[in-house]
Symmetry: C2
Subunit: 434 residues, 2 copies
Amino acid sequence: MISRVLTADLARHVGAQVRIAGWLHRKRQLKSMTFLVIRDRSGLAQVVLASPAEIGAASDLPEETVVAVTGTVAASDQAPGGAEIIHPVITQLSGAAQPPPFDLYRPTVTAALPTILDHAPASLRHPLLRAPFEISAAAIAGFRATLDGLGFIEVSTPKIVESATESGANVFGIDFFGRTAYLAQSPQFFKQALVGVFERVYETGPVFRAEPHDTARHLAEYTSLDAEFGFIEDHHDVMAVLREVTAGMVSAVAERSGAAVELLGIKLPEVPAQIPEIHITDAQELLARHTDEDPRGEPDLAPAHERWLSDWAVREHGSEFLYVTGYPMAKRPFYTHPEPGRPAYSNSFDLLFRGLEIVTGGQRLHRHCDYLAALAERGEDPGPYASYLAVFAAGMPPHGGFAMGLERWTARLTGADNVRRVTLFPRDLHRLSP
Amino acid sequence: MISRVLTADLARHVGAQVRIAGWLHRKRQLKSMTFLVIRDRSGLAQVVLASPAEIGAASDLPEETVVAVTGTVAASDQAPGGAEIIHPVITQLSGAAQPPPFDLYRPTVTAALPTILDHAPASLRHPLLRAPFEISAAAIAGFRATLDGLGFIEVSTPKIVESATESGANVFGIDFFGRTAYLAQSPQFFKQALVGVFERVYETGPVFRAEPHDTARHLAEYTSLDAEFGFIEDHHDVMAVLREVTAGMVSAVAERSGAAVELLGIKLPEVPAQIPEIHITDAQELLARHTDEDPRGEPDLAPAHERWLSDWAVREHGSEFLYVTGYPMAKRPFYTHPEPGRPAYSNSFDLLFRGLEIVTGGQRLHRHCDYLAALAERGEDPGPYASYLAVFAAGMPPHGGFAMGLERWTARLTGADNVRRVTLFPRDLHRLSP
């Protein structure tokens, strides 16, 4: 059997006998001819059935059936890629496919989101619905490559954890050999502990939030891109690394998923050498001065404020990225490092991109006594934190890090209106399958 | 402040004023001098305290305290790396560290495994205990790079799943917004579905097994390296890709974690261009002929048999890797493709490496009707498999794949006698922290 040629390479084989294989993307039956479009991972190819025998051989094949086609490559101006297959012999590789939830060959997708998600294994075959995942795979590769280059090491930390203590977010309980354990909301405690071992660590993996919110940006399970490192001065060192990571991710998307970027018609952002930053108090002053609202003194930014500030950063600094720094300690986790001289505020930041917070990070406390004081101040019993606190008793450098939600990043990059569009099989309050 | 120099680069700065930072690895107080050894992510550096003032400044610092040291670099034959720091000024960056569970500066580790694991954040700082994780990070990078080069795409699939149906292994139940869900034992169903979308996919992530076994090779949570791809002839195509992946992982370990390999004094395996293979029936014949046991007709290999066969492959083929193929269908999951002409056996394989099964893989069924028949034959209700079965009704190519346990791989590579030694924070029947 001759070896398979990808459809994207067809034009390089004009005149030759080849074999392609893929899904029957489209069948168009004209009066005396039938055109098949075959889809494989590289693209589309047209197959021309001219003789009654050829046409008859394909008449029973529904779209989405998997086939191999052996035939001669002919140059053609009308065909995708400038070449098509003539005189084909078709071999059916799958059973006759059942109809997909909507026509996968149409250039646009009009199906509603629930329909798309309910039938994800078929829906995602649509080139427009598949493309975001090529971008997200490229982005994660860029994340890792950038941090590898900066001396970070990849780690794998447990998703099953002992306590439900890390943040205010809701946790999922699990029955762990007869006792209750929890699904990790983040690798925060572990990545900090590992700064004590490796200095610089990152992890890419699932995190779990029992989010009762049914919004376009919350998921019960998502992919968190986490980094943490030691020997920093303050959060600005973390922001500098994140700037490199962000630039590396955008470059990787351009280099590794250019076809998907082109197909979706999206414009990749420029990452400025220095991402502009604004302290939350200054941001609130701006909002008070230029909008109808006065958020001064509030502990956090509302989504509408984030959008306004993103627009402001584009106007004022020509940047689609903006760091908002200094969030009030009251709204940050207990391990956050306060702002020297202004202890109601923190050495923390959010990175806004196209109107949405996609990264949270900052400097952490690193002295054991500071942790005890922080828990005491919040009236929390240090007991459940015993194994975490032991890390800081063992000698830890000043450190910090950040966490990026991969789905939010990809959604912003692709213009998706809902993170579920860039999640293969989303999990939320109402969705546990497929 | 002058910028930090890594200890590994110290010798390049002889004569200059530098600043290093790290953990106080060792303090040796002689009659008129004190030597400090500072450990950072790159290695060790010696600091010489000669004046009473210098000696006094360090007298209160326990080992593992984090410090910055500014001083002059002097060439020294006695110091690690051929250079040391003299006339130091020491700044303490952490609180005074509490004593580690055992001396981290000793060249060997005699602490028992439970001690090591109970105090992992401190124990893992020992260079010998840290090194396996540098190797495992390199291996996972090699896995991804090889598959990227072969046109695979990385995916992230849910760890929270609807049914506990995938295999015979025990599952963890979770309370998912008031209903019962489960932690995924593997991404098997999802990666197959995604072959229908991307043709070639891989995932590196946690999987969960409620293993009641308390052995040196079972964990409740481990990192699975999964790949799956379409348009194969049979399981030999999968074995050929796995051969490339294995070779890529060994190369990456050599290139990216050479220092760890050297420190541990391990010998990396050669991956033969063609990994030898033996059908399970032939393997059982061999065992019957050459050992005291007669495993013919048994559905699986015992661990002792795997060790014998591994030794046999070294003797007979000069290979530390061996494919055992054709495992009886009775011991394989229902989605396994049978061996054409011998349907009691399967188009499946295990990869043995240094006496242990580290990869399982094979060809899967790909026709909807074959799945229905396979479930019926096992007396299983297709109901709980509805969303999985829908994948095959939608048109799927012949496909297959494999799953490698990262911890088992690293254990074999480093000679660890227990997978817990190559797992940062293991989870098992008895262990849920740190």
